[in-house]
Assembly symmetry: C2
Homo-oligomer: 581 residues x 2
């Protein structure tokens, strides 16, 4: 294999174009191998291989600096910069992250996993370089999909007037995670159709120099193009037309499906059970409402697949479905307007990405008390990459006034909360969609959620009370069993409401409890448990808060984190017994 000889970018510089083409094929194999073993990004990486080879051939990394937007396209770069083991050697698969990671290599300059940040980060490097009178190229590599994000657009506005070397590679593979959305993409389409000659050019209106390469997977032409822009003294956009999924036919054909894949995706005989999930009951609910003639609108900021908003659902919804593109901020403003206009918006977003909308949650939505529904998925301690942790949404959302943030624990509760939220007109509501297998009680939940901050005592005991929030209600039940063995009969409480304290219920605990414990599937700092601690702080009740520490963990397994944070029935019981004695 040619790749055997590539241990750093300099080993690449002696190859012929023919050898580089063979190398590209070898790297394709590495991508498929790795993803088939541990999951990861397929299409974007397959499409960018030639670009990365040519970039490393022409530029001099790490002196010249590449900044990867969202890192969906960093696998080929990793293979060239000494990390090929992460793609060919199973032992190393999980040691090499799927994202840009400075702790792995001096060729990575930032830890990146959220979109639309590359222009800003790279522009900072370029400005620092010029202040320090240093001399190298700074190159931001951004996909067409990421361009719609606010931070990227803000960055482009400033980058275009930057007075120095600054190169932005736009990797246009005609796709975001799903289809691109918005006027910008019609402009890119015109540029592609005219070989970059279309006169109304988005990038040029901002003042950028601009060049276009139609054959974005042609190494020779890529090298020619990059040689031309190397050492430019002005900001320039290099617009490449590439093929997402290139070299793996299914990924070329089904671009959305193969953007990211799960392990064993290469096994064509793999079948998926058609089981009921929180995703499926959500889309069923929305479709039913539409059929009933309600002005319900499902909104996603570019991640429909991640929340189960699949093609069939989107098509059935028709004009009642809007993908706002990677534009989370706009998405929240948009649903506030929809709600005020009398529609019933339901926006689905991942915990890690709802972070992109704090000010819109506060100003556009909460301050206006717009009755929109936000479904927060993947909110949990999961063992994810440090860029995709789902543990910060509770402090983020629950400390904003007016928003009602709910934590259901089973199917019926979830559907009752969703239905209440969609039908009420008084509050913005967020629901933390359970990140646990769907559990059904078989009994309709008749709770009136308009009575805010009403917790439920599901089992009355004494001495110890356990508040098991959302995902961790089960953990409360399991802990109960262990406590029973120790002769303690705890009270079990399902708080349901993250955003407020049920004073009456908490007050009632004082008479026959001495310890209250809180369990939350998220970071403790600024979270739910601290509110309970504050409530009891002036009393003799003792409180123990269980949850995640304030830290960015990086691919530490859920099991290890549970151990570390004492989130097992045994460890919780030990802590309770220690406090009792």
């Amino acid at each position: 294999m040619i790749l055997d000889k590539i241990n750093s970018p300099k080993d690449l510089k002696t190859l012929s174009v023919e050898e580089m083409n063979i190398l590209a094929d070898e790297m394709r194999e590495g991508i498929l191998k790795r993803v088939n073993a541990i999951g990861g990004h397929v299409g974007p990486d397959l499409g960018i291989i030639e670009t990365m080879i040519a970039l490393h051939y022409v530029f001099n990394s790490p002196v010249d600096k590449f900044v990867f937007d969202v890192s969906h396209q960093c696998y080929p770069h990793k293979m060239i910069t000494g990390r090929k083991e992460g793609f060919f050697n199973p032992e190393y698969y999980s040691k090499i992250s799927g994202y840009s990671a400075p702790n792995e290599s001096c060729h990575d300059h930032f830890t990146i996993g959220h979109t639309s940040t590359s222009v800003s980060l790279a522009l900072g490097l370029a400005k620092a370089r010029d202040l320090k009178k240093e001399d190298f190229n700074v190159i931001a590599l951004i996909g067409d999909g990421s361009l719609s994000g606010g931070e990227a657009l803000e960055g482009l506005n400033q980058a275009s007037i930057f007075n120095g070397n600054f190169i932005i590679i736009v990797n246009d593979n005609e796709m975001s995670i799903a289809q691109n959305q918005g006027g910008l993409y019609k402009n890119l389409e015109q540029l592609r159709k005219t070989n970059g000659e279309y006169e109304n050019n988005f990038f040029k209106t901002l003042g950028f120099d601009y060049c276009y390469l139609e054959e974005g997977n042609n190494i020779e032409k890529l090298i020619q193009t990059f040689k031309k822009v190397k050492d430019t003294k002005k900001p320039i956009i290099v617009h490449l037309h590439t093929l997402k999924g290139k070299g793996y036919k299914p990924a070329e054909a089904q671009k959305e499906k193969y953007h990211w894949q799960v392990p064993n995706f290469l096994d064509e005989n793999q079948t998926f059970e058609n089981i009921e999930t929180y995703e499926s009951i959500t889309t069923d609910y929305i479709l039913r409402k539409k059929e009933e003639g309600e002005p319900i609108v499902a909104i996603t900021p570019a991640t429909p697949g991640a929340t189960g908003f699949y093609q069939e659902f989107r098509e059935k919804l028709g004009e009642n479905y809007v993908d706002v593109a990677i534009s989370e901020e706009h998405g929240i403003g948009f649903i506030s307007g929809l709600a005020k206009g009398g529609a019933k918006p339901v926006l689905a977003i991942l915990s890690s990405f709802v972070q992109r909308t704090y000010d819109q949650l506060s100003q556009d939505l909460a301050l206006n008390n717009s009755p929109a529904t936000i479904l927060v998925y993947w909110g949990a301690i999961t063992g994810a990459d440090c860029t995709h942790l789902g543990v910060f949404d509770i402090p983020l959302i629950s400390n904003i006034p007016n928003i009602v943030y709910l934590a259901p624990t089973n199917k019926e509760e979830y559907l009752a909360m969703l239905d209440w939220s969609v039908n009420q007109k008084d509050y913005p509501v967020a629901i933390r969609v359970p990140y646990i297998p769907l559990k059904s009680t078989g009994k309709k939940d008749e709770t009136n959620y308009s009575i805010l901050n009403k917790y439920e005592i599901t089992k009355k005991g004494e001495k110890v009370a356990i508040l098991g929030l959302g995902n961790f209600y089960n953990l409360a039940l399991e802990t109960e069993k262990i406590l029973n063995e120790k002769g303690i009969n705890p009270t079990i409480i399902n708080p349901k409401f993250i955003t407020g304290v049920d004073k009456e219920l908490l007050e009632s605990l004082k008479k026959d409890h001495s310890i209250v414990i809180t369990l939350e599937d998220g970071v403790l700092d600024g979270g739910f448990g601290e509110k309970i601690s504050r409530y009891f702080a002036n009393s003799t009740i003792k409180v123990l808060n269980f949850g995640a520490q304030k830290e960015f963990t990086d691919r530490i397994s859920q099991e290890k984190l549970y151990e570390k944070y004492h989130l097992t029935p045994q460890l919780i019981t030990e802590d309770v017994l220690n406090l009792l004695n």
Copy 2:
């Protein structure tokens, strides 16, 4: 006065153009009168009077809906829609808000005070209208300055492909709050120079229909223009060239200075004391560092005046100053890049606007541990408008891992923290600039802030310990006096670090204290005090947290809020005595 007869938009529709011009002059007077009495926005409102008259003449509010970006230009609208008393009758000045406010009038559809939200909010209204098969015009009114904000750009991307009536008025007065920054503004300049004919048109690249009016303060032409676009079935940009500050010569000449003004600004003999402030010692420090040859960079997201980054300072800094425009998200990404590149960025931002950057603080900055400095101004319970509260920054920033958030209590501490932050390379640091008159101890602070989370006992007492954070350290001292009168000699603690708990110090309190109280100038939920409550929750120490409740208050005076939240020495003492007994 013609305005006497205008009680709603319909009263305007019978006026001649000549009468409307007289009306415009009367409204100018109202703006100056009000702002001279209670402060407010001068330039943007003076420049938009003719536009608002023409809009209300042509369109049919509130059936047709206007959405005001950031509301810096809503005074004329308020005068036309039944709220002229707020401009001519001192009794009503503070009853009418300076921002778009649905609780005042059915002609206002959203409470708005942050920028770049109008397109998204209005697009939601338009989409809801079409789903419900209603029929009216939706008009977003956005200033050129607000266009650079990510949410606005995201919104434009989606709005341009919207299939229905949608009108965006771009009020181009050639200014943001200060100068506009970025390539977009060079494009607007070309459009102005060519009467809208310049072929590379930013808005057209997105797919918008577009029309331009050079005489944006000419009522007759405005009416003609609006009549043409009324009832359009497609999204259209109406680009108006207006004069910021029109009709008041000083405001026309000094556009930045008169963007917003303080009471009595019309008094030309008014003098300002040249006293030392936190703003002045900050700019002095930055200039000194530059003179010493440090690669220090001062960054502001479009609000240099609000943080004391005045013209003279900016000019002296030269290339070491960057205004990133209204682009807070990009601003944080940019300083992360600057810091990684070896420069020393210091970004100045208001508490209310740092909200716009949560994900960038988390992902671009904290996850990368980039040693940048963020100065957070106006973080306090102030009695501000509900859109500009400075009470949420502590929960926002302090629950993000890695960031060190500091709360200085006097000049020397502030300068020591600032200097430490600029020189260290380990952490992103935010400093909550005191929102109290500058106090000097006259003694250099020699603390080593690299030892994180080290609180200081400034006075050792017993039984009661008071943690007075930042602005509220003084309140701790005042409370001490009252407690002394009651025979209690409390321990006084200056925590300095908002982001962590000094376990050793807190532990040491257990031996001779029974009550710990925390004082913070911000919302309690998710804040500093709750961390102290959590720490002591499993002990016999009782804790009382004092701070703001989780709510959007609207122009409630600081005094009243202090009373409500028990933030006076007397009320705190009462609560302590109640708990002791």
